[in-house]
């Protein structure tokens, strides 16, 4: 890949198929919006999105089976599109996760029974809250959300696949812009929703700016955007190391913002709370998976040989993220905000796993690798988050979802199944054994411990104790507190939401009891291509 002469990039269509089909469906969705009559749009868009995702999922499996070994055999896959896309084991694994949770997202998006025949999205986003126009749009359905979501999914798939910084930036924007919009489309509590979208957009735009500046500085150091070329430049250590360090830091700001790490977490609770819950579910799982994929690729591949520069930074960020996430979650009084802070704490645990990077020479035969641990953690995290937010959509009163804590009092008495499922998901997030969350936590703690980051692990364990407190407090609220007159009730959902919840809970159980297959799959994904 000589960057001085122009080489026509070759596109490996078979391996790009999953991305292309999602992008194609997204574009097709826009066309559908324009040409299909309003009455038929909902069905068309839903089926189209689901079909596209399933086709992409099938493609992902085929691509995963087809990857061939490169180099010394530690990694499998290929570079395509002139080296800008690296389709390797971890990337394909992450595609699979994003697509699975996107299917869950579409099912939640399409839920119409809870709101009495309409979806959870504003009928007419442009109508001002409280106006006549809004009332007229009451019965309408916003079907643009499906193409928007498909674009975001495509961005999430490209993000961890990007082999150079510019592609990574483009993917970052492709996944972010639709999400900013989706956050502002809630049917109920529209001002809160619009505020969330505004905050997310402003802060997200800033962080993108940081990322872009970091790209420029790293280019100044390495003379290339390409991660492999950056890796070589870092190894040779010929350029200005200060430039590299600052560039690295700025890139990290952009990425850590997306995963909601402290001190870039302040958007998370507001956005998670304000966004339509279906969007929150999809975003919480998908964005985190994609952004962690990008973080891993950037730091392991691009800056892998300069671990000593970025690891201290991540130590501090990981510790702060866990502690702040867990401690602030205690003072919350809203389920969605609590889950948002819990997701911040999970970001910290995942970063602990990122610190567990070791070269293969340092690892014993058959020892679990940090990549394997993080991929597994992302899997269990995604399933439990999507299912938990899906359950949040069920607990309602006349004003829509009732997310304040006191409305959940005694839910276990009235709806033992729903409350039981939610309690189980909370226990998984708390990392109680026999749930997927425990195995994930064990894995990331182990790799970090093994790499010598034991102080971070001790902080992680301390934060887990704190986190258990607020999870269990919520279980106590649901089961051991008497219901009050204004306790919310569970509204029976359609099959769409039920299926999402059932799959999420079942996956969390299975990942806790037989984690072997998924762990092996994550191990089989191998290393990134360097």
């Amino acid at each position: 890949m000589d960057s001085t002469t122009f080489v026509k990039p070759t596109l490996d269509y078979f391996h790009l198929w999953p991305i292309l089909v999602v992008l194609g469906v997204a574009a097709l969705g826009v066309v559908v919006e324009a040409f299909v009559p309003r009455a038929r749009r909902f069905a068309t868009q839903t089926v189209l999105a689901l079909a596209g995702l399933v086709a992409a999922l099938v493609g992902t499996v085929l691509v995963g089976l087809d990857l061939t070994e490169v180099g010394d055999g530690a990694a499998r896959g290929l570079l395509t599109a002139g080296g800008t896309l690296v389709i390797d084991g971890p990337a394909v694994f992450l595609w699979g996760l994003v697509l699975i949770f996107a299917v869950g997202g579409v099912l939640l998006f399409a839920e119409r029974r809870l709101e009495g025949g309409v979806s959870a999205f504003a009928g007419q986003a442009a109508a001002l809250p409280g106006t006549e126009a809004e009332r007229q749009a009451q019965g309408l359905d916003h079907t643009e959300v499906y193409p928007l979501m498909m674009f975001a999914v495509a961005g999430m798939m490209i993000f961890p696949t990007a082999g150079d910084l510019l592609t990574m930036f483009v993917a970052l924007e492709v996944l972010s812009l639709p999400l900013y919009l989706l956050c502002g489309l809630a049917r109920r509590r529209r001002l809160l929703s619009q505020e969330a979208a505004m905050k997310y957009f402003l802060l997200g735009a800033f962080s993108s700016g940081f990322f872009l500046y970091g790209v420029a500085l790293v280019y100044g150091f390495a003379g290339s955007m390409d991660l492999a070329a950056i890796d070589q430049a870092v190894r040779a250590d010929t350029g200005n190391h200060t430039l590299l360090a600052i560039g690295m830091g700025l890139l990290a700001v952009g990425l850590l913002f997306k995963v909601g790490a402290v001190p870039f977490q302040s958007w998370t609770p507001d956005v998670y709370q304000g966004a339509p819950t279906a969007v929150t579910a999809f975003m919480a799982a998908g964005t985190k998976i994609a952004a962690f994929g990008a973080i891993l690729r950037l730091f392991y591949v691009g800056f892998g040989s300069d671990r000593w520069t970025w690891q201290p930074m991540l130590w501090v960020v990981a510790i702060l993220t866990m502690v702040v996430g867990a401690v602030l979650a205690i003072s919350q009084s809203d389920v969605k905000r609590m889950l948002a802070y819990s997701s911040i704490a999970h970001t910290g645990f995942l970063l602990t796993g990122v610190l567990g990077v070791q070269t293969s020479a340092e690892l014993a035969d058959g020892q679990v690798t940090s990549l394997q641990a993080i991929l597994f953690y992302l899997t269990t995290y995604g399933f439990s988050m999507v299912a938990a937010f899906a359950i949040v959509t069920l607990v309602r009163d006349s004003g829509g979802e009732a997310t304040a804590f006191d409305r959940w009092a005694g839910l276990g008495r009235r709806s033992p199944w729903v409350a039981g499922a939610f309690a189980f998901l909370l226990l998984s997030m708390a990392g109680i054994p026999l749930t997927g969350g425990f195995v994930g936590k064990w894995a990331v703690f182990t790799v970090a411990f093994s790499a010598g980051a034991w102080p971070v692990v001790l902080v992680a364990i301390f934060s887990s104790v704190v986190a258990i407190y607020f999870y269990v407090r919520h279980i106590r609220l649901m089961f051991f507190t008497a219901p009050t007159a204004d306790s919310a009730a569970v509204v029976a959902p359609s099959l769409l939401t039920s299926a999402t919840i059932a799959v999420g809970v079942l996956a969390t159980v299975l990942l806790g009891i037989v984690p072997g297959p998924v762990l092996d799959l994550a191990g089989h994904a191998g290393e990134f291509i360097r």
């Binding site: 054994p433 064990w442 093994s450 269990v472 089961f479």
Partner: protein, 539 residues
């Protein structure tokens, strides 16, 4: 026959029973019968396991399968002398607990600030959670893979949490939260050590969590001490030991007596069980290093637990605190590191299970009649219900270690061992017995003797809450079936502790050989002197 997965079946029967009771829409009465049947079947299986057990055979009935190969984790079960005794104890106690709580779940025990409507159908939940707790506890005692042990060790807390939080008195949900937070905090400290073991194991070849593999590991002195600390802190919270015991009294005060039996007599044994199996078994050097501190904590627990027990006015709180003193004795026996102490501690674990269970359940029956848990509001119970009062007295005497009852044997062994370790340690431990006499006898005096309180059933004003329709106010048949086996066990093992010692001695011998203690089991002038205490030295 030997290929039959006895232990897996033993764990699965109550587990499946629990799920079935939880899911099938049985009425509460049938759920209780089904639960009782399942627990009796489990007891029969445990007896079958005991029948095949060879006391000199070490770890047996082993089953090993790969579970999570990426972590070196196995599904591995097996029993040795220690595991067998605790499995039997668990299997015996659970049916009795279910029987004792037969009508608890229909009517609340004492004042319950919350709503009564929730009581409907909660009998089923109680049975389901109890069976789940039994299954997980059995798995804990049979696990021979550290990861598997950790998983079930932590998982026991969930049924325990729901048992404390769902049944019992006002303030139970706060007590349950406190209980769970303490236990999980301890559990997470243990997690750090479990992870540390993996790292050490990975550094020395391929990672494995099998106990037999870990025992071969050469854990460095410093690493060993750190890992030991993690294990010990978790087990000290569990047991409980002095500075981390504060959850105990709150929990037993708020929970039902039946739940307290499960917690104190079964679940807390995991703490001392873990000290023996993991602290001593995996970190012999660190155990010797820690002995002085642990012994000091054990002594504080013995004396402090007994002293604050004396001052309690709540019957259930008092009984809970006596266990702090008892667990001090068990820990002392374990950490003085000689064979008498070890055997005494193992015996103590069983006898404490029987004695304290009897005391808790008898107290529960008294409280049910009286309608209060406050000692100061009782009095004269023995005139109305002489049989119940008598059994209560026997259980109380067992708690204070009266000769002729089984607890005496174990307490005696531990104290002899303590004297061998340091004379003053023994001297301090002996004060625990004196204090025990005070709290037990004074409690008996205040509750059972004296003028009969008017509110007692049979004296006119009190209604019999044990609404079986009968006019009996003394021990009912059901209550008798619960208490008599426990009391028989206490008396039997008081005069004939041979079977218990036979099961525990070889285990303790091999364990202490690992620790490097080679005191050749000096002859003991106590009822078990004829048992071959030195037989294990040759093997």
């Amino acid at each position: 026959m030997s290929d039959f997965p006895w232990l897996t079946v033993l764990v699965l029967v109550p587990l499946v029973g629990s799920v079935a009771v939880a899911l099938l829409p049985l009425p509460a009465a049938q759920a209780k019968q089904a639960g009782l049947a399942v627990s009796v079947v489990t007891l029969a299986l445990a007896a079958a396991v005991a029948a095949q057990f060879d006391v000199e055979g070490g770890m047996q009935l082993t089953e090993t399968h790969d579970w999570i190969s990426a972590f070196g984790v196995h599904y591995a079960l097996g029993v040795d002398g220690l595991g067998l005794l605790l499995i039997l104890l668990t299997a015996v106690l659970v049916p009795l607990v279910l029987l004792a709580a037969w009508s608890d779940t229909d009517q609340p025990l004492g004042p319950d600030g919350e709503d009564e409507t929730t009581r409907q159908g909660s009998g089923r939940a109680f049975v389901a959670w109890t069976l789940a707790l039994e299954a997980l506890s059995l798995a804990v005692f049979a696990a021979t893979d550290v990861f598997l042990f950790y998983v079930v060790f932590e998982a026991t807390l969930i049924p325990a949490y729901f048992l404390v939080g769902g049944f019992g008195r006002e303030g139970r949900s706060a007590a349950a939260l406190k209980f769970l937070m303490f236990q999980l905090a301890g559990g997470l400290v243990l997690l750090a050590s479990v992870i540390g073991l993996y790292v050490v194991s990975a550094q020395q070849g391929s990672p494995s969590y099998l106990l037999s593999d870990l025992e071969q590991l050469d854990i460095g002195t410093e690493a060993g001490r750190w890992l030991f600390l993690g294990f010990f802190i978790a087990f000290a919270v569990k047991a409980p030991l002095f500075p981390v015991h504060t959850w105990l009294a709150d929990t037993t005060e708020r929970a039902t007596p039946a739940t307290s039996v499960l917690l104190v007599c079964v679940l807390d044994k995991i703490g001392t069980f873990g000290m023996l199996r993991f602290c001593l078994g995996l970190f012999p050097e660190a155990s010797q290093w820690a002995t002085p501190v642990v012994v000091a904590l054990a002594l504080v627990s013995i004396v402090y637990g007994a002293l604050i027990a004396i001052g309690q006015d709540d019957l259930l709180r008092l009984i809970g605190l006596t266990s702090l003193s008892h667990f001090g004795f068990i820990t002392l026996g374990i950490f003085v590191l000689n064979t008498q102490g070890g055997s005494g501690a193992v015996l103590y674990m069983v006898n404490h299970g029987l004695g304290t269970a009897a005391l808790f359940l008898a107290a529960g029956f008294v409280i049910r009649r009286r309608g209060t848990t406050l000692i100061s509001q009782m009095g004269g119970v023995e005139k109305v219900t002489p049989v119940l009062a008598g059994l209560f007295l026997v259980a109380g005497l067992a708690t204070l270690g009266l000769p002729g009852l089984s607890t005496f044997v174990s307490e005696f062994l531990v104290i002899i061992a303590a004297f061998q370790y340091q004379w003053w340690v023994g001297a301090i431990a002996v004060t625990g017995i004196v204090l025990a006499a005070i709290y037990v006898l004074w409690m008996y005096q205040r509750t059972m003797t004296g003028p009969t309180v008017p509110a007692l059933p049979g004296t006119g004003t009190g209604a019999d809450p044990d609404a079986t329709g009968s006019t009996r106010t003394d021990l009912t048949v059901r209550e008798g079936v619960v208490l008599v086996p426990l009391v028989v066990g206490l008396v039997l093992f008081g005069f004939y502790p041979g079977p218990l010692l036979e099961a525990s001695n070889p285990y303790v011998g091999t364990l202490l050989e690992r620790v490097g203690v080679t005191d050749d089991a000096p002859t003991v002038t106590s009822p078990e002197s004829e048992t071959p205490a030195s037989a294990e030295e040759g093997s």
